[in-house]
């Protein structure tokens, strides 16, 4: 008798009460993966979608062909941005717990993904983030107070109270408005890059998506359009293993790496240690150089781990082992860059503690200032008339009438 088909339902490697198990994550030794020419054909470098590009080894040295050979001051700036991201995240989580903001999303454990990539790109490159790359904001010079006012939906909120917390944007920082819907920014970034090519500039676009939302059609549209038009775009999949409670197997990660989606579309896929600042920097630099030479897009999978909850509305202890993050084989990105700088003789635990304290004070002072412009619980509040603005460039009659109606309703 023929065997009936059986439905395969992916099973998370470990659930609460079980021992963390990361044997499903293939690792390569630092320095072991060759760095091809940026003009290489996608078909000739498919191993990069399987192997793991790493630079920092277990003794904290930078090794191998992907070492970007960054100056010490660049490394220190990177460490500072990553640490600021973490200090900011920790502090904003507390303000949410105190009821000062409605919602927050931390990027703990993923700081290198955003910071190293933004540092490897030019300021004129356009960034289309998802909601967990706050490090991009710091590299692009966002002011803490401005970010906090967005979180607070207060009188200085850049979004005028229209968006959930963390959905920032910056025109001078070339940071696109974060949607809050998943994956939509991915093909938009490709369109932006197509326009750059049509206009003949050498700007490029970079965008980020979670491995979970790479399941959306938008992801595939992005790869298809990027491939067809050879758009100058960097497509980053942040594989942090978890989409709320759903492990990466449900986005199709059990059969092939996410980087391997690239070669299927004729786009190089790089599988990169996302907790290795130097590896992320080097991979971004490679992909950017490739795009600027007219060779088109690159798909970069950043293998990392979401060490915190999905959001302040989430409790990860209900779906994964408590000590999962500690057992993640690629460690912590801040700790690893810190140890590298210490190994170089350019950093110390004391300097690190002093920097953390300094950043904590900065964040605290900024919070104090931002709170003066209003919080959820205390005024001043945004003018409610603003609700009706920016639906269209010019307010149509029906919205003018509805604004009047609200005014009458509220006296």
């Amino acid at each position: 008798m023929p065997r009936p088909s059986r439905l395969h339902v992916p099973n998370a490697p470990a659930r609460p009460g079980e021992a963390p198990d990361f044997s499903y994550v293939p690792l390569s030794p630092a320095g072991s993966v060759a760095r091809p020419d940026v003009a290489a054909q996608a078909v000739d470098i498919e191993n990069l979608a399987v192997d793991l590009i790493r630079v920092l080894d277990d003794s904290h040295r930078a090794v191998g062909p992907w070492n970007p050979h960054l100056d010490v001051d660049v490394l220190q700036v990177g460490l500072r941005h990553m640490l600021l991201t973490r200090v900011y995240d920790d502090r904003m989580l507390r303000t949410q717990r105190q009821g000062k903001i409605s919602f927050y999303m931390k990027s703990t454990g993923e700081e290198a993904v955003a910071v190293a990539a933004a540092m490897a790109l030019r300021p004129s490159d356009m960034l289309f983030p998802a909601y967990r790359q706050q490090g991009l904001q710091f590299v692009r010079g966002a002011k803490l107070v401005d970010l906090m006012c967005q979180l607070l939906s207060n009188t200085r909120d850049m979004c005028k109270g229209r968006q959930l917390p963390v959905m920032y944007h910056s025109v001078p920082g070339r940071l696109f408005s974060i949607s809050g819907n998943l994956a939509t920014q991915f093909p938009q970034a490709v369109g932006w890059a197509m326009a750059a090519a049509i206009k003949g500039t050498d700007d490029l676009a970079a965008t980020w998506i979670g491995e979970g939302s790479s399941a959306e059609a938008d992801f595939h549209h992005a790869l298809l359009f990027a491939s067809v038009y050879r758009a100058p775009v960097l497509l980053n999949v942040v594989n942090n293993q978890w989409a709320i409670s759903t492990f990466q197997g449900f986005a199709g990660g059990e059969q092939r790496s996410f980087a391997a989606r690239g070669p299927g579309y004729g786009i190089p896929g790089l599988r990169v240690d996302g907790n290795d600042f130097l590896a992320v920097y080097a991979a971004t630099e490679w992909a950017a150089e490739r795009a600027r030479k007219g060779a088109g897009a690159t798909l970069v999978e950043l293998v990392t781990y979401r060490a915190a909850a999905h959001s302040t509305s989430d409790d990860p202890t209900r779906y994964r082992p408590k000590d999962d993050a500690e057992r993640w084989p690629l460690g912590d990105p801040i700790e690893r860059l810190k140890q590298h700088l210490i190994a170089l003789g350019e950093w110390s635990e004391e300097r690190h503690a002093a920097l953390a304290a300094e950043l904590g004070e900065q964040v605290g002072a900024a919070w104090k200032e931002a709170s003066n412009y209003g919080t959820l619980t205390e005024g001043p509040r945004l003018d409610r008339d603003l609700m009706f603005e920016d639906v269209f460039k010019d307010m149509p009659r029906h919205l003018i009438e509805q604004r009047e109606q609200l005014r009458r309703e509220r006296g």
């Binding site: 850049m158 959905m167 460039k393």
Partner: protein, 338 residues
């Protein structure tokens, strides 16, 4: 004045926009080399090149998303969705992204994208090539929705849409591409050259978005319609010998409430006609708006003439289509009510 059918008028609008503004790009399935399945983009790629008039993959979500990105980078994309029935893979990008980008970013970013798409039935298109989805977009905040009923308006509205700083969904009633249509499929086709609005200037002009047109002034009853049904309703009223005031809505969002209300306040009677399904259709919004403002002037209940609440059936196209008989019956009922 040159005579154009609606296809030529739309082509002329894009030709002018491409010529005047190097930021205008046209993209969509089959629009480039081939010139579009309805020939609306014929010759544009030859004239402006493959970088300005792009063929795309069959991926409506990708077409809309790429257009948004292009617009954010300073271009003015004119995206064609080959049939309105195919627009749904792009619906999320339209509803959640295109329409709301300006709002969510407090005008830091905006995307002046025009989406052109042929809609409506009467061409033996069956249930996947005949839909009129305007209500699904009228309900969305932040995107303008227009539907012309003749070549003159088609060109002027399309230029206005492309030049508009907000996104515009531009619905093209494809039964009207080659000529006006009074709803009787057995009559020989009539070309636009027989119609005054088939006279279309060669050069640049706009028809303002947000303004309805009083196509015929009258005293007895107001007919509110748009697209193909405007011509059907006009024929039905003529057949009954009514002195009807006929209003072409043209701009569904924003809606020109004033023109509608002024007319119904004068006539006291109103019939609304559209081809789309009835339940939750845009006619309901028109009816509610007019009723709220003209209740005390009304001599009779307002009626709607629409497609049935079924998918558009291939074999029963003309039983589905709200033809002149259905319109005439409604006109009679509203005229006789007291």
């Amino acid at each position: 004045m040159p005579q154009m059918n609606m296809i030529q008028a739309l082509n002329s609008a894009m030709d002018i926009a491409l010529g005047r503004d190097p930021g205008v790009v046209v993209l969509g399935e089959d629009v480039g080399y081939f010139g579009g399945v309805f020939r609306v983009t014929d010759g544009l790629q030859r004239k402006y090149g493959t970088h300005r008039v792009l063929d795309t993959p069959i991926a409506e979500g990708g077409i809309i998303a790429a257009s948004i990105g292009m617009a954010v980078n300073g271009l003015r994309p004119v995206a064609e969705i080959q049939f309105a029935d195919y627009i749904y893979p792009g619906y999320d990008q339209i509803v959640s992204e295109l329409a709301r980008l300006r709002y969510r970013s407090a005008s830091a970013f905006s995307a002046p994208v025009t989406i052109r798409t042929p809609c409506g039935g009467g061409i033996r298109g069956g249930q996947t090539h005949s839909q009129s989805p305007e209500a699904l977009f009228a309900h969305v905040c932040g995107i303008k929705v227009v539907m012309p009923s003749n070549p003159y308006d088609a060109k002027g509205l399309l230029i206005a849409a492309i030049e508009d700083d907000d996104p515009v969904l531009f619905l093209e009633p494809k039964r009207l591409y080659n000529g006006p249509f009074d709803g009787d499929p057995n009559k020989p086709a009539v070309p636009w050259s027989t119609h005054p609005r088939g006279d279309v200037p060669d050069g640049h002009y706009t028809v303002p978005i947000g303004k309805a047109a009083v196509v015929r002034e009258g005293r007895e009853i107001t007919i509110v319609s748009y697209g193909t049904m405007l011509h059907v309703a006009e024929a039905a009223a003529k057949g009954l010998g009514l002195d009807a005031e006929i209003i072409d809505v043209r701009s569904i969002v924003p809606l020109d409430v004033e023109t509608l209300v002024n007319s119904v306040a004068k006539t006291g009677r109103c019939v609304i006609a559209h081809e789309a399904t009835r339940f939750g259709g845009f006619g309901a919004e028109l009816m509610a708006t007019i009723q709220e403002r003209c209740f005390w002037q009304l001599e009779a209940p307002i009626e709607r003439v629409c497609g049935w609440d079924t998918p558009y059936p291939h074999a029963f196209e003309w039983e589905y289509f709200p033809g002149p008989q259905r319109v005439a019956a409604a006109l009679k009922r509203v005229m006789e009510a007291r």
